[in-house]
């Protein structure tokens, strides 16, 4: 009867808790990479601005995503990780089998003491099975109850993280701030292209350029355009990685909600989608790093 009851109830699946924990760990790693990349982007632009001035102050090169704030994100991910470990410990299948193992061990000891006993452990066998099921049911019941109680705060954490990151040019988010920096960087290249053209036109206002001069000018402008395209690709990679990270954080919120409901099919679907988002975010950051390295090599 107990088996039938357990089969019908929603349960917190240990394997899904492991998947959720791993997904949270991946998102943490991606968040750390994100913050480092954004701070580096902003610092480089701060330097480009301050070198045009007559004096230097600390506010000119302020760290925008501060280490003390980043530490709060680290602490949050750490708390989620510890919560998952405790949930796993409670749901550990070995716990109920440990009970059964110690029961069998006790039975063996007694068997050795009483040489006249005929092995017919009807009552203790039945008790062993029920005890195992009972501890499993209790662990499930406690886990489900606590996961449901924790869920509202899990939602707050992951929704707040997702909101801070953002995914498009709407709202005051890290995504939007990064986007404005790329507008400046690409704008400077547009200006360089325009200035080159104007200067070439001025020089050759009365005398047409030779074919060599024309070719040299075209080569110069080609380099500017190639630089522009590199910046565009860097921008797209970084902004897509940010969007993907935001989706991953929203996915974590949804995954915990499904875990707390004990819905195996919902959680499985969400976790698969979440893993795909995290893999996508990682590949975009790898692409961003590769492009950045290539650009640095070209610029010498």
């Amino acid at each position: 009867m107990l088996l039938l009851v357990l089969a019908g109830c929603p349960t917190v699946q240990p394997a899904r808790v492991t998947q959720f924990q791993q997904a949270a760990d991946s998102a943490h790693t991606q968040a750390q990479a994100t913050f480092n990349a954004i701070n580096a982007l902003i610092t480089e632009d701060e330097i480009n601005l301050v070198i045009t001035k007559d004096k230097l102050q600390e506010s000119d090169v302020q760290v925008i995503l501060s280490q003390s704030d980043i530490a709060k994100w680290d602490k949050a991910f750490s708390a989620v990780d510890n919560y998952c470990k405790s949930l796993q410990a409670l749901l550990d299948a070995n716990l109920s089998s440990d009970v059964q193992t110690s029961i069998v061990g006790a039975a063996d000891q007694l068997k050795n003491l009483d040489k006249n006993a005929v092995p017919d452990p009807v009552i203790s066998t039945a008790f062993t099975e029920v005890a195992g099921l009972f501890t499993q049911a209790k662990a499930q019941s406690d886990a489900m109850k606590i996961a449901k109680q924790a869920d509202p705060n899990m939602q707050v954490i992951f929704q707040a993280m997702a909101s801070a990151i953002g995914s498009d040019a709407s709202g005051a988010t890290v995504w939007h701030t990064a986007s404005e920096h790329w507008v400046d960087r690409m704008g400077k290249v547009e200006d360089a292209f325009h200035r080159n053209y104007d200067e070439f036109q001025k020089v050759h206002a009365t005398t047409p350029p030779s074919s060599d001069e024309q070719a040299a000018f075209a080569a110069k402008q080609r380099l500017v355009v190639q630089n522009y395209i590199q910046l565009r690709d860097l921008r797209d990679a970084q902004l897509q990685a940010l969007s993907s990270l935001q989706q991953s954080l929203l996915g974590l919120a949804e995954a915990h909600s499904a875990l707390a409901r004990g819905s195996a099919s919902d959680l499985s679907t969400v976790l698969s989608s979440l893993q795909a988002d995290l893999d996508n975010a990682k590949s975009l950051y790898d692409k961003f790093k590769a492009l950045s390295t290539g650009k640095a090599a070209t610029n010498g």
Partner: protein, 113 residues
Amino acid sequence: MAESNSSLTDLYNTLVEEHDQINTLRANEDDDDMRDAMMNEMMEITHRIDLVQSQLFTEDSDAIDNAVAKVDTAKGALDAALGSITTLKSFVNACTAFLKIVDSAIDLAKKLP
């Protein structure tokens, strides 16, 4: 963003709007010196956007930090539940040992004439 200061958000949006407007003008400007001046202004505005973003990020991080304490409470509840299961295990061991003795006694009773 989680419960961000609406004044800061308004300031951020104003700065972005200004930045984007100047950018549009710059892109259509033919005079190179004017373009450079506009770009310099854009960079100054972007720096202010960064400073406001920093404040907003601090607010978002505080909201996250406030929720963490309650997750730690959930972990504590899980550890307590695990402790009660362990106690249950000891109880079950003791019961089983007793029942094994009962089984042995029943076996012996079966053999009694």
